[in-house]
């Protein structure tokens, strides 16, 4: 079944929030999943993998210890691609100054790629990343990709190296619809469901402000 990108973003945001991420990071997760889906990747599967892996753990444990370190690493020795990716986007100027940023032990590395898009748009230069022989580059609007699919979809990589300015070769255009596996949709829905308050008669009446006759 195909879904609209807005549906993917909306469910991803709720699911990320339901997994315990702060709203600001849930928004990043949602934009990132939408971005990957628009390029034909199984974004919802990847997000479901990550949320199940990091369900309700403290964000600080899987965040970079310091943005100034030569190599970014997390205290729990597995880094969240959402938190590290968001930091990379926040530090776009620093990435430009340093030329490259290396991250260690990143989970679901493909989920960090959309943040390169944000950084590339800010810098006005393409940003590239390499892990395990895969190379992905983006200028924020297009994508180029070299490498094997199973490495692209790996659940953990020991090292990711982000660099800019990068060369774009063989570009891929985004699409406007995404096919989503029903399994991944259901997995995300489990997390999203945690954000919904159970309906009660009182909330039905008071919370929505009804009560007057609305059938006249």
């Amino acid at each position: 079944m195909t879904y609209s990108l807005n549906e993917i973003e909306a469910l991803s945001k709720r699911a990320a929030r339901g997994s315990g991420l702060a709203w600001g990071l849930a928004e990043e997760a949602a934009k990132g999943t939408r971005w990957l889906s628009a390029f034909g990747f199984q974004g919802t599967d990847l997000l479901a993998d990550l949320l199940e892996m990091n369900d309700r753990i403290p964000a600080i444990d899987v965040s970079p210890v310091s943005l100034r370190a030569a190599v970014w690493h997390a205290p729990a020795r597995r880094m969240s691609p959402l938190i590290a990716g968001a930091s990379l986007s926040d530090c776009a100027v620093r990435l430009m100054e340093r030329g490259s940023i290396t991250m260690e032990n990143v989970c679901v590395p493909l989920l960090a790629v959309p943040f390169m898009g944000g950084a590339a748009l800010r810098l006005g230069h393409p940003v590239a990343v390499e892990w395990g022989g895969v190379r992905v580059a983006t200028d924020g609007r297009h994508l180029c990709l070299h490498g094997e699919t199973d490495i692209l979809y790996t659940r953990m990589t020991t090292e990711m190296v982000f660099s800019t300015p990068a060369k774009m070769t063989g570009t891929k255009e985004p699409v406007m619809r995404a096919s989503v596996s029903p399994q991944s949709w259901d997995r995300l829905a489990v997390f999203a469901h945690r954000t919904f308050a159970p309906a009660t008669d009182e909330s039905r009446l008071k919370g929505a402000g009804a009560g007057l006759n609305d059938n006249d």
Binding site: M1, L5, E7, A22, W23, A59, M176, A208
Partner: protein, 563 residues
């Protein structure tokens, strides 16, 4: 032209004022009727297969110079006990989709399986919107019975309700699988926000007019008589009603850049008009005429809600005051509109002030209509956080934009009495009592003032020269508020500068503001959190739409002899 600065966001972005906005020539319905007339869109009913019980489907097409859009309407015979305007309803009198192109039979069959189900159905990228409507029980039966008996319906009854059907949701932008806005946003006719939804409602109104006639004819036939044809002036006076609840309130908070662009367009338009050095006689005459015509609109505006009744009473007093003012003020002298605006700001209620803002724009389409094109938003650039901003700069930004929130005592229960949450049922947004109901753990980030104040507090021990990227890595819980603050730094009208969780908050203020940008009139709050409005009341029907009728239709015509 004299340079007049835009009004200060501190003045504009207060809920009481936003909740007093009126439709204007930048409203999305008016942008659409203007375009449809200017481009001579052609309208056809290409199918009307509805039986004597009111069951079946119809197709109405709008042909632009480049494309065709089709409203596919499914009519149902709904038992009264199933009729509810609440989002949680499961059946409706009529359901609709706006289809991109001309549907084939297979499309109709597919949509017949899905559109009547609304949220329980699925649509595709060929569908641009999904919506539903219920009859006004009081007016529908009166109109059908009158016409079937060979009579016209009574004017008093028509005016008391104003619509035959009211929509209870019009979904676009990818909802239920429909096309994302990005798929169509580059088409000229859809560049301005909500044009899909406005077109859908415009065609819905036409369908409803045909359906009521059809039902009257069927009833007359059963009685062996001939029904009267609904008089064109009555058909024109009828709008489409709309019931809107809390679902719409979070929209303005969740789309800060878009909201900024709407307000900024209107404020820029106002500044341009206030900057006019000398007004032409014809423009002054048009202003006077539309002043009189808008008083007719207000005279027909009814509400039972105590707060709105108070506002309407103040507006009636404003009408008297403005009429007196217009008798004495010299609009042919320099800077007429700036003087008039300043008079309004000092002498009228908020309803009256914002009415004057809308009126001032009316004679100046050539000066302000281009601003409609600036009302859309692409959030890509503003979503990213500028991590190299220093803590000192962030602190200064927060103190400039959110000083009211920083000065608020958030430990007082009254200042955070409410919490926005989403219920399990059809994901309906609701507003709960934080200290009385177990809803806080489900709270949505819809209290920007409180969150900005918390961010400001959390920064207090950070050095001025540290970068926000470092801070936000340690404090991801403030990432949302930081993003908003940076957006407002670039887009001054992006943020409502009021407490959205106070015990005194009136969510209908947010609904009214958004609906005024749609072009709605006759706001009728039914509680502090839902209201009814009318859309396209008095608008030309498709066959009447010309460049002469496309512009000033929201204002009723003056009785002959007064014009």
């Amino acid at each position: 032209m004299t340079e007049v600065p835009n009004r200060d966001p501190e003045l504009v972005m207060r809920l009481a004022r936003l909740g007093s906005f009126h439709q204007s020539r930048l409203s999305f319905k008016r942008v659409l009727t203007r375009r449809m007339a200017a481009e001579s869109w052609r309208f056809d009913c290409t199918a009307f297969e509805i039986d004597g019980n009111g069951e079946g489907h119809a197709v109405y097409t709008a042909n632009t110079p480049e494309r065709t859009y089709s409203l596919i309407a499914f009519a149902h015979d709904l038992p009264p006990e199933k009729r509810s305007d609440r989002v949680i309803a499961e059946a409706w009198d009529a359901t609709f989709t706006l289809f991109d192109g001309v549907p084939e039979d297979a499309d109709i069959q597919r949509l017949a399986q899905n559109i009547p189900l609304q949220e329980a159905g699925r649509v595709t990228g060929r569908e641009l919107s999904v919506s539903r409507a219920n009859r006004s029980v009081r007016l529908w039966e009166h109109v059908v019975a009158s016409l079937a008996a060979g009579d016209q319906p009574e004017t008093a009854q028509i005016e008391a309700v104003g619509y035959l059907m009211r929509t209870t949701a019009v979904y676009g932008s990818g909802k239920l699988g429909a096309a994302d806005r990005e798929m169509i946003a580059d088409r000229p006719e859809f560049r301005v926000p909500f044009q899909v939804e406005m077109l859908s409602v415009y065609l819905t109104r036409w369908f409803v007019t045909d359906l009521v006639q059809h039902m009257a004819c069927c009833r007359a036939q059963q009685n062996g008589t001939t029904a009267a044809k609904l008089a064109p002036q009555i058909a024109r006076s009828l709008g489409i009603g709309n019931s809107t609840g809390l679902g719409m309130a979070p929209f303005l908070l969740n789309h800060p850049v878009l909201f900024n662009n709407w307000i900024a367009a209107r404020e820029t338009a106002l500044s341009r008009v206030r900057g006019i050095d000398i007004a032409k006689g014809a423009d002054i005459a048009l202003f006077h005429e539309l002043f009189e015509r808008s008083t007719l609109l207000f005279a027909a505006w009814q509400s039972e809600h105590p707060l709105q009744r108070e506002k309407l009473a103040a507006l009636q007093a404003d009408v008297v005051a403005l009429r007196l003012c217009l008798q004495t003020i010299d609009l042919s002298a320099p800077h007429p509109w700036d003087r008039l605006y300043q008079w309004a700001e000092q002498n009228l209620s908020l309803e009256g002030q914002e009415w004057v803002v809308s009126l001032l724009l009316e004679p100046y389409g050539a000066l302000v209509d281009d601003l409609a094109e600036t009302m859309a938003a692409d959030n890509t650039a503003t979503f990213r956080i500028a991590g190299s901003m220093t803590i000192a700069d962030l602190r200064a930004l927060l103190e400039r934009v959110y000083h009211w929130a920083i000065e608020t005592d958030w430990s007082l229960p009254a200042n955070r009495a409410r919490a926005w949450y989403v219920s399990e049922e059809k994901l309906e947004p609701r507003l709960g009592e934080r200290f009385e109901e177990p809803v806080e753990e489900y709270e949505q980030p819809l209290a920007p003032g409180r969150d900005a104040a918390a961010l400001h507090r959390a920064l207090s021990h950070w050095p001025d020269d540290a970068q926000v990227a470092e801070f936000i890595l340690r404090h991801p819980e403030h990432r949302h508020a930081l993003r908003r603050a940076q957006i407002v730094g670039r887009a001054p009208y992006a943020e409502i500068r009021d407490n959205t969780i106070s015990e005194r908050v009136m969510p209908i203020d947010m609904l009214r503001c958004k609906l005024a940008f749609f072009g709605a009139t006759k706001f009728d709050p039914r509680s502090d959190r839902w209201l009814r409005i009318s859309m396209y009341g008095n608008a030309p029907l498709p066959q009447e739409l010309t460049s002469d009728t496309a512009e000033y239709w929201p204002y009723p015509d003056l009785p002959k002899g007064d014009a």
